[in-house]
Amino acid sequence: MVGGALLIGATVAVLGGCLLLVVTVVVVRAARHSRTRRDQMLLSPLRAPLITVASGEDDDGSAAEQLTWATGVSRTVLDGNIVQLLTKIRGVPAEQLVRVLEVHGAVEAAVADLTHRSSVRRARAAQLLGLAQAGHTVPLLVEALRDESVEVRNSAAYALGLIGDAAAAGPVLAAIGLPDRGLPAATAAEALQSMGVGISEVLREGLGDENARTRMVAAHLSGQRSFTRGLPELRHLLDHDTDLTVRETCAAAIGRLGRGEDAAVLARHTLADEPLSLRRACVQALGELGDEGAVPTLAVLLDDPDPRLAELAASALIELGPEGSGALSGHEDDPAVRSARLMASLQKASA
C-alpha cells in the first residue's frame, strides 16, 4: 500500500540522513586535525629560519634566503604563515618577510586573486596586499570596496588602512552608503583612522552624505582626528540631522574640536524639548569644550529634573575652574552637586 511504502521510504531516508550527519561530524573533525598536522609537518624544516627572520636576528639574510627556496605546497603554507606573522610584527623583520613574499610571487598572485571566483580567496588576497604594503595596488583595492561579498569589502578596507594612502579615503567613506553592499561602518572607521591628515576634506564632504551611517562615521572621525575644518557642517548636523545617533556623534565631536563660540550651539540642544540622550551628550560635550561661555547654561541645568543631567552639568562646572565652581553656589546641597564633587575628589585622590 502506498502509505506504507511512503512511510518506509521516509523512515529510511531519515535514518540514512542521521547516519550521514554522524559521519560528517567525524569527517569534519578528522579533516581539521589532519590538516593541522600536515601544515605543521610541512613547516617544520622552515620553522627555524622563519623564527630567526621574524625575531629580527637574521642579520646576514641567510635565513630569509632559506625561506625563499621553499616550493610547492610548503611555499603556500609558509606564505600563509608569513601573512599571519605580518599582522603581529613590524619593523625590519616585517620588511624582510615581505621580500620573501615578493620572491615567492605571492604578491603578484594576490593581485590576480583579487578577481578570483571564491570570495575567501579574494578577501585573503586583499589582506595580503595590505600587509605587504603594496601601494601600487590601491586602485584595485578601491574597486574591491564594491565587491559583492562583505568579507572582501572588509578586507579591502583593512588593506587600504594598512597602506594608509589618503587617496583611498574618499572611496572608503563613499562605500559605507552603497545600497545592498555597504561597507560596515566599523571597518571603514578603522581604515580611515590610519590615513593621514589629507583626509580632512573627504570627511567634510562625508558630513553632507545622504546616508546616515556615512555622516556618523565622518562626524566621529572628525572628532577623533581633530579636523576643525568640518565644524560648520558638524554644527549644522547637530541642529538639523534627522538621525539621533548622528546628532549625538556631532555633539561629541564638537565638544572635542570646538572653540568658545560652539558653546552656544551645544547649549541650544540642552533645552528641555530635546531628546534626553541628546541633552546629556551635549552637556558632556560642553564639559569637554572647556569654555567658560558654557557656565550660564550649565548653571540652569543644575535644576533639571533629570538627575544625571544635573550631575553632568555639575561635573562640567567643576572642571571649568573657578568661574564654573562659582556657579555652584546656592546648589551646594543638591544631590547632583554633592555627587559630582565626591566623584571629582575620588578621582583626584587616586591620580
Binding site: I51, S55, E57, T87, K88, I89, R90, E190
Partner: protein, 133 residues
Amino acid sequence: MSAPAGDPDVSPVRVLVADDDADIRDLVEFKLTQAGYAVEAVPDGISAWEAFAANPPQLAVLDVMMPGLSGIDVLRKIRESEFGTVPVLLLSAKSRDSDVDTGFAVGADDYVIKPFSPRELLHRVNGMLARAR
C-alpha cells in the same frame, strides 16, 4: 643589545613568556635567548601562573589575549602573590585603550602593542630589568 653583562658565575636572568600564539611565543623566546636570557615559554594563562608559582622569574612577558586566564588575570594573581613586585610586560593587539588602562591599573610595568617590533621589545625588557635592580 644583549642582556646586561653580569657575573659569569651568576646564572642568566630568567624570563617567563606566555602567549597562546606559537609564532609569537617562539620568536620572543628566540630573541630573548639570543640576547642571553634564560626563557621559559608557556602557551596559556594557567601554565603561566603555575610556572610562575613554581619558579618565579625575574621578569614576565604576558600576552593579554589568551584563552582561559588572560594575561591580565595572571598579572592580577602575580601582584597578589608574595612575589608581587616582579616586573611584567603585557603584549596586546592594537588600539586597545581599555586593555592598556586595565593593564596598568592591575599593575603592569610596561605595554607593547601588536604589531610590535621585536627589537623594541628587547629594549623594553632590558630597561625594565635595569630599573628593577
